[in-house]
């Protein structure tokens, strides 16, 4: 009775013999070439997929970190720099949010019934409104941290799950992104289970019902002016 090691050595020897028999005739490079090309293909696919995959998280966390840095910058906290601070934050945020995709979804089916001019006007008014309305919340920032939890992908949509941690508690915060023009763009944020787009859609529906689409535009403009004069 052979011992296990002898048995295994025997198998190995067998394998070597078979290998040599199989490849002694010059076919020996075939598996190497095949493997090489498969590996190359795999790598390129991985890189491409990983490029799309990983960058959703990087996009979101990168901008978030940037904004946090701006908000906690002690130099900018000095009173004279308020305007500059706001500008920087605005720039960062505008680099991540796709206001058109967001605006489209807040109007729902009505979007397609608008003329192109009206659509453009709405997106621009909406952009002004959003950009200017959240400043007071930024001023209230004090050492919150955003922790990345995970992400999901489905074709050209992605969702990045995070949680906003502060001394007072934790708030789940999810970003929804769409792959457009070779980059991930945020089109919705879900704060504590409440989707921003859905919430605005409900508001806009109610306003349009009582005062038409142009009434909505007027209201958005008024609010923006209020925010700017604050």
């Amino acid at each position: 009775m052979t011992t296990i090691s002898e048995w295994m050595a025997g198998i190995q020897a067998n394998r070597n013999v078979q290998y040599r028999l199989q490849y002694s005739n010059g076919l020996r490079w075939f598996p190497v070439v095949l493997l090489g090309s498969l590996l190359g293909l795999f790598l390129s696919v991985t890189v491409a997929v990983a490029g799309e995959n990983g960058s959703a998280k990087e996009r979101v966390m990168g901008t978030v970190d940037q904004v946090m840095r701006i908000l906690s910058d002690t130099q900018l906290k000095a009173p004279g720099h308020a305007q500059e601070r706001r500008q920087l934050v605005k720039q960062s945020v505008n680099g991540l949010l796709d206001y058109e995709e967001m605006g489209k979804r807040t109007l729902g089916a009505r979007w397609q019934k608008l003329t192109v001019a009206e659509q453009e006007e709405f997106v621009s008014v909406f952009r002004q409104f959003l950009s200017n309305s959240y400043e007071s919340q930024f001023e209230a920032y004090s050492d919150e941290q955003v922790q990345y939890l995970g992400e999901r992908r489905k074709s050209r949509f992605a969702e990045v799950l995070t949680v906003l941690v502060s001394n007072k508690g934790e708030i789940p915060l999810d970003f929804r992104l769409i792959w457009k023009s070779e980059q991930w763009w945020v089109y919705d944020m879900v704060v504590d289970g409440v989707s921003m787009v859905k919430n605005y859609r409900a508001q806009f529906t109610r306003i349009i019902r009582s005062s038409s689409f142009h009434g909505l535009l007027a209201k958005l403009k008024t609010k923006t002016e209020l925010a700017l004069t604050r």
Partner: protein, 305 residues
């Protein structure tokens, strides 16, 4: 990112609303508003909402992707596969692959009454509650505020556990019980949420309104009462029962003490949310609609959990 705060918790009687936020009230099956926007959302008849939820939960996102850690976590919103899974559907601009397509606009036949009450509550908040909460927040350290909130939350175990059982969520019921035991002993009468911080024991809050919705009770109209957070009729009745089930209310059946205790809870909650609700009004064009919709979304989410 503070852009977040745009749709944080509506302002109306914020503290009580925060109670909703923390109780994670049962998400509802809302009756469709007949004039609601006709978009591509899939609609489910009211009584079938729980079957829809179950069907939705059966579809899991593809594995192999980095995901949120826990499997029972509320944040895994299941993906609903589009019906015709072809290129046309994908290019549809309103296709939101991560949103549950359940329409959750609230049925609001009493809108005029509700808006009056809403304005009243908002004024109460602006002139009475928020100043009180601001002063309170100035005086109290954060950990004490959190402790008081945890303490009140701990009391609600009877209602939460029974509702878990009524919905057949035995794991949830067990977790509630364990959390109560651990927090009441190690966590000094519930002041510290030891179960969550050290043992990772968490379970979504259940209340009677959610249980009723799972059993198919229609949600009824949206209702705002003075000094109360937004409700639907079904949830208002359920809330009353849940209050009666709260042991704190048995131990101190003297009316003034009850008012004082619940008032204290309200002020505490409001002070915990001062920054959250700051600027909500500036970020919305229609506050009433925003509150109503946020309530609907939170209920829908809580039912799914």
């Amino acid at each position: 990112m503070s852009l977040v705060f745009l749709v944080m918790g509506p302002v109306s009687c914020s503290a009580q609303l925060n109670t909703i936020v923390h109780q994670n009230p049962r998400p509802d099956s809302f009756v469709e508003d007949s004039q609601s926007l006709a978009d591509d959302s899939v609609r489910f008849p009211t009584s079938d909402i729980r079957f829809a939820s179950m069907a939705v939960n059966a579809i899991r996102p593809e594995s192999g992707m980095p995901m949120a850690s826990d499997s029972s976590g509320p944040r895994l919103v299941s993906v609903i596969e589009p019906k015709n899974d072809d290129a046309n559907r994908e290019s549809e601009p309103f296709e939101d692959h991560f949103a549950d397509n359940i329409q959750d606009e609230v049925h609001d036949p009493w809108e005029s009454f509700n808006t009056t009450m809403f304005t009243f509550n908002r004024n109460v908040d602006r002139y009475a509650l928020k100043p009180a909460a601001t002063a309170y927040e100035y005086v109290m350290p954060d950990f004490m505020e959190r402790g008081i909130r945890n303490g009140f939350h701990n009391f609600g175990v009877v209602s939460r556990m029974s509702n878990n059982l009524l919905q057949g969520k035995f794991e949830g019921a067990g977790l509630e019980f364990s959390r109560f035991m651990i927090n009441s002993t190690l966590g000094i009468a519930g002041l510290m949420d030891v179960a969550k911080d050290y043992f990772d024991m968490e379970t979504p809050d259940e209340d009677l309104g959610q249980t009723l919705s799972v059993y198919g009770t229609p949600s009824g109209p949206y209702l705002i009462l003075p000094f109360m957070p937004p409700f639907t009729v079904r949830d208002a009745g359920a809330y009353a029962v849940d209050v009666l089930m709260n042991p704190a209310n048995w131990l101190l059946p003297i009316f003034p003490t009850l008012i004082g205790m619940n008032g204290g809870e309200v002020v505490n909650d409001r002070s915990l949310n001062l920054e959250r609700y700051e600027g909500v009004e500036e970020g919305t064009v229609d506050l009433y609609g925003a509150v109503r919709d946020a309530y609907a979304q939170k209920r829908a989410q809580a039912i799914k959990e």
